[in-house]
Symmetry: C3
Subunit: 338 residues, 3 copies
């Protein structure tokens, strides 16, 4: 229904390019009740690893298949790409899409599913953010998902679109945003994705830096086939003991909807990169892997890098850090049981 008013000889090649990347060697993932299932009905629990921003990895010279092979070697079945708005703008849409296409291709070849994560932190309503690299606008965020939806339509590897990494008003320093307003913004993004007939599962987070999902009880997102997200770092909501907080702060959601903890991780207080709210020890690892296994909740460790914190390895021989050792073992064990 679009009318051509551009000069007659001008053609658009976007259709050709966007369909070329669809490589459907992985089974399509769908939402069924409170679970993720493959198109042929197998229940999937995802456990995997976050990487640094693809732009950053490319600059460091590590955006290559060997890196994805190592993620696979650690036992992951999913990888999360945190696309920082500042990196997206710096590299530009065309060049950044090439990075994503490469990462998705290697993931497909290795049998890893992919989460594309719009990695902002702050208040999308007032467009105020925690720091400069998280700066974006509603318009840019909507356009990002329009671009992703069009570009990865029909690609089963890109199974998840995490709409906005960590919503927060930072105690009011970033202005106000009600759950109702946040819900409306998410529904707008989901509508844009689905109007492109892209079946990626939208992942929706709550406030307090993607920790708090309590409003979902009374007022869930008005869209079927989505999943929720929490980032339950060890020091959130007062920290240990976690058992009496996790179920009511976010875990209850898993009774009704698929739930994915797209960032978990810890750092010993003595380690480089230790900071609030991640300081803890292996007891956190035990608690979170046990609770999620019992509830069928998926998780993704933060972060498979030597610099971003808390880090999983200390050098590019992939020498595991303390949490690296913990999560490598956990990934290999839990995912081999599936």
């Amino acid at each position: 229904m679009l009318k051509l008013k551009t000069p007659l000889l001008l053609l658009t090649f976007s259709v050709l390019f966007s369909s070329a990347i669809a490589q459907n060697s992985l089974k399509k993932i769908k939402v069924q009740g409170n679970q993720f299932v493959t198109e042929d009905g197998k229940v999937m629990v995802f456990r995997g690893l976050n990487v640094a921003d693809p732009d950053n990895l490319h600059t460091k010279g590590h955006w290559e298949k060997a890196f994805f092979q190592e993620i696979k070697n650690w036992g992951a079945n999913i990888v999360r790409f945190p696309v920082h708005p500042s990196a997206w703008r710096k590299r530009g849409k065309t060049e950044y899409l090439k990075l994503l296409d490469d990462g998705v291709k290697w993931s497909t070849e290795l049998g890893l599913y992919v989460i594309i994560d719009w990695h902002s932190i702050g208040n999308l309503r007032t467009e105020m953010y925690q720091s400069d690299n998280y700066e974006t606008t509603q318009k840019e965020t909507f356009e990002f998902w329009r671009t992703m939806a069009k570009h990865f339509k029909g690609n089963n590897t890109v199974a998840f679109f995490e709409l906005f990494n960590e919503p927060t008003v930072a105690g009011g320093q970033l202005g106000t945003c009600s759950w109702e307003q946040w819900k409306t913004l998410n529904e707008e993004m989901i509508g844009i994705v689905r109007a492109h007939s892209n079946d990626a599962i939208p992942l929706v987070a709550g406030f307090n830096w993607a920790y708090d999902l309590t409003p979902v009880k009374e007022n869930p997102i008005n869209a079927a086939g989505i999943a929720y997200v929490s980032h339950p770092y060890p020091m959130k909501n007062g920290g240990k003991p976690w058992e009496n907080k996790w179920p009511t702060d976010w875990g209850f959601v898993a009774k009704k909807y698929p739930l994915m903890l797209t960032e978990i991780g810890f750092s010993g207080a003595e380690e480089v990169g230790a900071h609030v709210p991640v300081i803890s020890d292996e007891s956190y690892g035990d608690a979170i892997t046990k609770y999620t296994a019992e509830q069928g909740i998926s998780w993704v460790g933060w972060v498979f890098d030597d610099r971003w914190a808390p880090r999983m390895f200390s050098d590019w021989n992939f020498t595991p850090t303390r949490q690296g050792k913990y999560f490598k073992k956990a990934l290999l064990e839990y995912n081999s049981n599936k």
Copy 2:
């Protein structure tokens, strides 16, 4: 009531310039019931031609009185200037106003009324558009009308301000916009124009690329003295037969308000520039000119150019295309009967 806080010696010449262009040799057009009338009470039905963007015409070397003379020769009594937001920004306000001033001067001399059309396509609420040349913001759109209102105040030739060419959410790909939200945006623009005591008649379009006016029945724009717009290209809403669609999709509006089809046109499937939704033949021309004549509806053919499609002529000797022949004859016949 404006306070001067600028350096004392700084003066503004804008008042001098803006009044200089007011050339009132054409009679002022007003809304009376469901009709356009001249200030002395003569009913007017407008039938004319769209041109390409004035910026584009100027670049091609055709923004000259001879071009307007040809429009007049074809029988038009009105000409529509589609100002693309991208062209407006590229050329800049001052230089673009010079183009408009020239076009308005030649139109005045030839007795042609002018529609200034903010030629965007998309969703002004989310600020998402069909393609780059249609990109704008609410702020830029409001400022455009503030500028037009101030600049053309008292100019009878510039009888119409078409507030936004083709509103559409593209099936949700551009996000959502309710009729109520669209109505509010139009009322804001109308308020800005009229606060400048500019009496140009605001033209308001509906969704589906300015095709659908059904919400006007229950919930019209809250402003007197306006007119509505539809762009009923031949393939809209399933195409032929049109007779059972046009009256209910948009034609009913003409019983109560003035109505102007600011874009109509067709292209044989064999012609250059043929595309959805314009492919049809002379039977479309017969149907639309007959229906509009019966209902007193004004119309403007798209597009008096050799490149933009569907085109009216094939070279700058103004050799008519198939639809060019059709509309040249129609304009000369219908407008001579008035």
Copy 3:
């Protein structure tokens, strides 16, 4: 609760810098009922002077302690810094903060309180403004107050944050803004400031270029500890006689809330810079100083400069103009009585 995901060795020095400027030699100002009081309970009525934009003064070579000494010599106990959005952007945050830090330091040394004023004129809702130097966005305005709140936290000299100089829709030329919408924008800004534990008193203005406070009667700003503002220039609302207008247009507010006239001033019709709405004579000075003294209303004369109008002095020997003579005498008399 902020997570560090930046490279491990990157540190932020902002905490060091922002606390360095807190010099608490002046007593903290608070709101108590309809009055300003010092932290030890002394009622304060502020009477002082506006300066030109600090950026402008610095460019002219007059942003120096001697200039502030002269303000003190004229009897002021407060000085208002009108930060124009265009100047803020041009100089940049870091450099502009240095100007403010210098001005605040000299003010502290001389015992002058400071109002930081976001000096825009227009409609913050539609983001349409009176002229280019007042252009800003909601986002930029919110970020400005976020920056001010963080930077001047704990600084008693910076006792007032005037959130938006002169709100106006210019009779609709700048679109619409209801009092409810304006109230919401102010409450958002107040929330941002207070989330940073900054105790500066927010100053809130009404429409008609900060003249009209009538909506406060039925629908005050929903925040404790704030004060209201009016700019009752002599020709507002029809001009003289003022006695039957001031109490109902804005003066009534002082019965319930602290009120500060952050701009008053006049110019003889014969003087350079005379313009609507400031043309008047000493009778205006007598009326406004008497009425404010009776009601305990604070005021700040516009403007302690040789170029901005109406000006207080005619050269940089600080030779008083007609209103300069008037206000120098008024400041010295009224403030010495306190």
